[in-house]
Amino acid sequence: MNNTLSKAIVILVTVFLVTFTNSCRVKFVPDFDSELYSKIETTSKAVDRFYLLMLETTSAKDNERAYSNFSKQYVEIEVELNSLLLQNKIRPLNENSTRICEIILQTWNKYKEEHKEDNSISDGLIKINQTYMQDLFYALQVSEKAKEILINQPK
């Protein structure tokens, strides 16, 4: 009888410990999201395409690079950036990636306003803006890819 009781207590303690250690697992960052990673890549490509096409198909002469010729594309990309920010914002423990998204959006809007203000843009500034946007996207890609470290961690 005593032996049975001891075993029952040990089983209960085991169940408790397993539950306790499982609930003790720490979580500092969200899990890797492959869909979100793809969206980051797609949006980054859209920004790249925007600047490369502007550089290759238009010239600063003859008012070809007037802001109005690009306003629709600016808005289309801004919509994608807003969506990316929202998708990052709603994920718990994701404040670092969210901040990077905010910086990307802020920079995009700043470059848009500068284009509006100058109503033109030089080849040099296109190349610089493209580089700055790509490097910001690279930081965002790194922040999402880093979450892959957690794949195969003990469950």
Binding site: G124, Y138, V142, S143, A146
Partner: protein
């Protein structure tokens, strides 16, 4: 039920050390890539200013953007550090859990 506390702690430390060193290269590689990109940006900025392709005002504005870019890069590095810390902590908890379960199974 007998648990050798010293052994368990040593195993937990080894699990933490293993995880951190396994991922340390990733931190170094990323930091180097950020530095290389910064170098390339600075060269491009200097070159375009020299050729008169951008105004001094826009040059100054892009230098201001460097602060935000650095902030973005530091946030990315923070995610890597947090992910490594999470993996290491959970690896240690896993060792502890296994040690307890092994000790209990000797009784049952």
């Amino acid at each position: 039920m007998k648990v050798n506390t010293n052994d368990v702690i040593l195993e937990m430390l080894a699990a933490i050390k293993g995880t951190v060193s396994e991922n340390w290269e990733e931190v170094k590689t990323t930091a180097n890539q950020f530095l290389q990109r910064r170098k390339a940006r600075m060269e491009l900025l200097a070159e375009t200013l020299e050729k008169g392709e951008i105004t001094p005002a826009r040059f100054k504005s892009r230098l201001e953007d460097e602060k935000l870019l650095l902030e973005a890069e530091l946030n990315a590095m923070a995610v890597i550090s947090k992910a490594i810390a999470q993996k290491a902590a959970n690896a240690a908890i896993d060792v502890f859990e296994k040690a307890i379960l092994a000790a209990i199974s000797t009784i049952l």
